[in-house]
């Protein structure tokens, strides 16, 4: 047999083999003991020594080609034969025959995480504090005198605990952590404080007696009003998207001065929709209260108001989340209805 043309012959015969049994027979014919390759190998030793290496190499190359051809065809036939059997094993892959459920993080938690992460990116720490709090931290240390209306029972929830003079209450804001944090940390301070706060409010579509705020505080030498403005603008860009503008409006809070309210340009209508469902047509969304830390607050916590300046801000977590996700009834955030929880995609 002409060994030079053997590979072509083998290839065509192997390709024509209808099944594995036929292929095995052909393989035996071409590579078995009776095959021309086996015969040629036996004849090698009889060749003159100087021809042997070349003839051997040639023979090896041919064997390699033939072997490869058989291996490929064998794999092909194995698949074809298996597929015939697997046809009976076919299923409708679109069926949801096995469901692995995944829980969701509450929207409030997600929002807190996202907002705090923005400030963590600016080098802030995240601190938390007690919810059952002393009147001193919630009010006095924050330059809010005993006669301030916020201290009335109609606004604040008080607790029967300890000495009545301590005025134990459920904190009405996350701001008491400003005082607590400064009391126990020297400047510079860069901190955000997420947490639960409480007010004497009946539940309706836009009020809850328990809700969440995020407080921010930066105290350092040389902090100015521009730092407050820039920081909140940065936050608005990160949270609502880069095209959003901010506006600071003068306002009044006892523990900051100058004080301001932060408006963010409406990310839905950008101020052009006169009947925008999100901003009501004003083009602005009220998002936070803020200001420069009042000198009386520094004094109350033992900082020297002549040495440091700082800014503080506080925002409502529910509002941030509701505005962005089109939630008009705040009850959805407290009822734990699975049909709502399941929608809290991250």
């Amino acid at each position: 047999m002409d060994l030079d043309h053997l590979p072509e012959t083998v290839l065509s015969e192997a390709a024509a083999a209808p099944d594995l049994a036929a292929l095995e027979a052909i393989e035996n014919e071409f590579l078995g003991r009776q095959s021309s390759i086996a015969e040629a190998r036996r004849q090698l030793g009889k060749l003159p020594a100087e021809e042997r290496p070349q003839a051997g190499a040639q023979l090896n190359a041919i064997t390699e080609k033939v072997t490869t051809a058989f291996r490929a065809r064998r794999a092909e036939l194995q698949h074809l034969e298996a597929d015939k059997l697997l046809r009976d094993d076919q299923v409708d892959v679109t069926l949801e025959a096995w469901r692995i459920p995944q829980g969701r993080e509450h929207l409030i938690t997600q929002t807190i995480q996202e907002v705090c992460d923005i400030f963590v990116g600016l080098g802030y720490r995240v601190a938390e504090g007690p919810e059952a709090e002393l009147g001193w931290y919630n009010f006095d240390a924050l330059n809010t005198p005993p006669t301030h209306p916020a201290r009335l029972e109609s606004d604040t929830l008080y607790l029967d605990y300890g000495d009545p003079a301590d005025e134990m209450l459920l904190r009405t804001q996350t701001s008491p952590m400003q005082a607590r944090y400064m009391e126990t940390n020297d400047p510079p301070v860069y901190v955000v404080v997420p947490g639960k706060v409480y007010r004497n409010e009946a539940i309706d579509a836009s009020h809850l007696p328990v809700f969440y705020q995020i407080e921010g505080l930066a105290v350092d030498e040389g902090i100015t009003f521009s730092d407050l403005k820039g920081t909140l603008a940065h936050f608005a860009h990160e949270y609502f998207g880069p095209p959003q503008r901010i506006r600071l409006r003068p306002h009044f809070f006892p523990f900051t001065e100058p004080s301001a309210e932060l408006d963010v340009s409406c990310f839905v209508c950008d101020g052009v929709g006169s009947s925008c469902r999100v901003c009501g047509g004003s083009g602005w969304l009220e998002m936070a209260g803020c200001g420069m830390v009042h000198p009386n607050v520094f004094t109350a916590v033992g900082y020297d108001p002549a040495k440091v300046t700082g800014f503080a801000f506080g925002m409502g977590v529910e509002r941030l989340a509701m505005v962005r996700h089109g939630i008009s009834n705040i009850r959805h955030l407290i009822e734990n209805d699975l049909r709502v929880l399941e929608q809290f995609r991250s």
Binding site: W98, G103, E105, E128, P149, L157, S226, H234, R249
Partner: protein, 798 residues
């Protein structure tokens, strides 16, 4: 505070009437615009006319026929109103005229008489809701002119929110002063001084409580006639949201809106001995206020009394007895300065918050009282006639003089940066009507109407405000890092682990009620009953701070149950509160963070036909185990126990390093029923601090390259002995070689001695440094058996 632009024009020449420009100005000044109301002229072709003659309708008692002079003709119309006489000036709509709401006037025949037009009421003109009678115009209204020439319409009314530190802006002149500073235009006060007659007043004022009343001004007008106010004044009051009543009452309201000083008018003849006494109430004293309600007074209240009894609540509401009525002729005008907290507590205690009290509780300038009293006297003389003696009472209990603040310019730049040029500071303050002297520091004298300005920082804010917040640059300082604490990061792992297991995060209010405590059958001395009570709770159900997360979670389960959800798996992380001091701060109640979860129905992978594992105690223990795995908590144990609210045979203590951190198990069926839950409810509640406590870094253990040996042993153990105990005992026999021990079967039934159970364990043993020989494996097996026997467990079949 409602601000009508046409009225405002009395005090300031605004450079614009553009609503958006003014809205921006208010916002920039810090007086937020809550709403803008457009007052339109809703009618067409309504003219001033005079009623010349009135006669009865021949066929009807309740309507009359009026001959009306329109200036061009005299026509007869039918009118059902009775609040006018012959000679009255009225708003007349001829056929073809259009009234509010597009109602077109035609000729109509009413009870057989043709009516050639209509005399209009305020409601028909869209001026107010008043439909009791027709609109009677001022006597000097010119016949034949279009009504709109008399009415301050169209007009724009801004409703602004005034921050609590700015009582001075709760007035038209206060608003004008602010806008004048913003637009750099002049503003002017209205004429104040009345035309008086020679003579002194007999009125005497005594302030017995100077802490409650800083100043009391009293002026009298004698021989006044109480009647409706002129139309223009009524219109201004209405635009400000105040209902006109009579000239005397309207003038006091008008001056309050104009100047910011609330006033009160007494019928002087009803003031016993013409004597005013400002004092705290006597024990048991009562007062019937203007609204007809009898008020029991307490000693923190403050009253204006005559020589006999209380006749009004200071700065809050007058008394019924001394009210000005139609028959009043002698009027006493009160302009006082009250202690803000006194008014605040009294008005809120009595639920009587008024325009007056809202101003007094912010603090009205005490030096405004004489100005406002003069202005009111002047207007009253104009509108009600009578005369006022030159002498009047000004009782000052606590004088207020303008203060001075030193403002170093460096203080401005220290807070505001260099955005405001130093040379701008003084001019900005001057624009705000503050007097500035000196160069650096500036000597700023503050008028008493700006009592909010006390310290340099208050002036810095004024500088920033008038400079414009929008003109400051934006810079972003950065902190030195720190981010989330390790504990906060590990808390996130808790959430993610439970979410991965299919639980949703829930959030509940932090309260519970007595029914919750009973549903959980906490024994009397249990710490969960040591609740911190809310002194002023929202309601009884929310009367205490929660001592457990489970009641809230079960309520959420019920909520979902009742909406047809059978499979509910939720968790919550939050604080619980106890009536004893907190380790982290002894001054406040203990308020540790906890993790709670409740699961009912199927949790985990579910097949198409709903096949899956229904929650029970092992769901709870499994959730604990994955948490322990995720958080790398090793020295943990579950120990069978009983706990309130839990199924007595299906609950375990969770111990970490021997410390109890909570329970996992099944909710007691009776507790479940209290929350309308049926079927098994897996639940757990754990202290979070132990779970999230940061731990040292772990180091990699090189996996052994030597073969493992696996063998099973079946044991015969006392029935009540927990599997975990047996596993721990046999594991301890060869701790270095025992890679894992797993219980793969528990058998209770025939073939065992009474009180025993079968337990099948699978062991994997392997050495880190060598292949174990047969002898070594035999040795391991022998030591395991010895350890088991020592623990009271036998090999089965022995």
């Amino acid at each position: 505070m409602k601000v009508a632009l046409k009225w405002l024009a009395d005090y300031i020449d605004l450079p614009t009437n553009d609503v958006e420009t003014i809205r921006t100005a208010f916002a920039a000044l810090g007086h937020e615009v809550e709403g803008v109301e457009y007052l339109e002229t809703d009618w067409k072709d309504v003219y001033v006319a005079q009623v010349e003659r009135i006669r009865a309708h021949p066929d009807a008692d309740k309507i009359r026929l009026c001959v009306v002079n329109t200036g061009q003709e005299k026509v007869e119309v039918v009118c059902g109103a009775w609040n006018f006489e012959e000679g009255a000036k009225v708003a007349f709509a001829s056929p073809g005229a259009v009234l509010a709401g597009g109602f077109e006037i035609g000729r109509r025949t009413i009870r057989g008489v043709e009516s050639a037009g209509m005399i209009c009421s305020e409601k028909e003109l869209g001026l107010s809701e008043d439909h009791v009678g027709i609109l009677v115009l001022d006597a000097d209204a010119p016949i034949g002119v279009e009504l709109s020439e008399l009415v301050a319409r169209p007009d724009v009314v801004f409703d602004i929110t005034v921050t609590p530190n700015r009582p001075d802006v709760m007035s038209m002149i206060g608003v004008a002063r602010e806008l004048a500073a913003y637009f750099t235009v002049p503003f002017h006060l209205p004429p104040v001084e009345p035309q008086t007659v020679e003579g002194e007043t007999d009125v005497r004022v005594e302030i017995l409580d100077p802490s409650g009343c800083y100043r009391f001004v009293a002026r009298e007008v004698r021989g006044a006639t109480v009647r409706p106010s002129p139309f223009w004044l009524q219109q201004r009051l209405r635009a400000s949201g105040v209902r006109p009543i009579s000239n005397v009452v309207d003038v006091s309201n008008y001056v309050m809106l104009e100047l910011g000083q609330p006033l009160h008018a007494f019928d002087l003849d009803k003031v016993a001995d013409q004597q005013i006494v400002v004092r705290r109430p006597k024990p048991g004293e009562k007062l019937i206020t203007l609204d007809g309600v009898e008020r029991a007074l307490v000693d923190t209240d403050l009253v204006v009394a005559d020589s006999e009894r209380a006749s009004g609540l200071a700065g809050t509401m007058g008394g019924l007895d001394s009210e000005v009525t139609d028959g009043t002729t002698n009027v006493l005008i009160e302009a006082a300065a009250w202690d803000p907290p006194t008014v605040m507590f009294m008005s809120r205690r009595l639920g009587l918050r008024s325009e007056a009290s809202s101003r007094f509780e912010r603090g009205v300038d005490p030096n405004l009282a004489p100005v406002a009293a003069a202005r009111a006297t002047r207007l009253l003389l104009e509108l009600a006639g009578g005369e006022s003696p030159r002498g009047w009472v000004d009782e000052v209990a606590m004088p207020h003089i303008p203060g001075t603040i030193e403002l170093p310019l460096a203080e401005v730049s220290r807070v505001l940066g260099d955005d405001v040029p130093t040379e701008d500071v003084a001019p900005l303050l001057t624009r705000l009507h503050l007097q500035v002297a000196g160069v650096d520091p500036l000597e700023v004298s503050v008028p008493t109407f700006r009592r909010d300005l006390e310290r340099p920082i208050d002036l810095v804010e004024e500088v920033a405000r008038l400079h414009g917040y929008d003109r400051f640059r934006e810079t972003v300082p950065t902190g030195s890092g720190g981010g989330w604490s390790p504990e906060q990061r590990r808390r996130r792992i808790v959430r993610q682990t439970l979410m991965g297991a299919g639980l949703h995060e829930a959030l509940n209010l932090s309260f519970l009620g007595p029914e919750d405590l009973d549903s959980f059958a906490y024994p009397p001395e249990h710490e969960a009953r040591a609740t911190v009570r809310v002194s002023n709770p929202l309601n009884d159900e929310l009367g205490s701070l929660r001592t457990s997360l489970l009641p809230g979670l079960l309520r959420s389960m019920r909520y979902n149950f009742s909406r047809g959800q059978a499979d509910v798996a939720i968790f919550e992380i939050g604080r619980v509160f106890f009536n004893h001091p907190w380790d982290e701060d002894k001054r406040v109640p203990a308020q540790p963070e906890r993790l709670g979860f409740t699961v009912t129905g199927i949790l985990g992978p579910v097949g198409m036909n709903g096949e899956g594992r229904t929650a029970d105690v092992f769901t709870a223990t499994a959730l604990w185990r994955i948490l322990a795995a995720a958080l790398d908590i090793k020295d943990a144990a579950l120990v069978a126990t009983t706990a309130p609210g839990f199924h007595p045979g299906r609950v375990a203590q969770v111990l970490v390093n021997g410390v109890l951190i909570g329970h996992v198990g099944e909710i007691h069926p009776v507790t479940g029923k209290a929350y309308q839950l049926e079927g098994r409810v897996a639940a757990g509640e754990l202290d979070l601090a132990v779970l999230t406590a940061s731990r040292p870094d772990w180091l990699l253990v090189e996996p052994s390259v030597y073969p493992r040996v696996e063998f099973d042993l079946a044991f015969d153990a006392p029935k009540e002995m927990p599997a975990a105990e047996i596993v721990a005992a046999v594991k301890a026999a060869q701790p270095d070689l025992t890679e894992s021990v797993e219980v793969f079967d528990e058998y209770r039934g025939p073939g065992l001695v009474e009180g025993r159970k079968g337990l099948a364990l699978r062991f994997v043993v392997r050495a880190a440094d060598r292949t174990l020989s047969g002898d070594e494996i035999d040795e391991v097996r022998r030591s395991i058996l010895a350890a088991a026997q020592a623990a009271g467990v036998d090999l089965r079949g022995n």
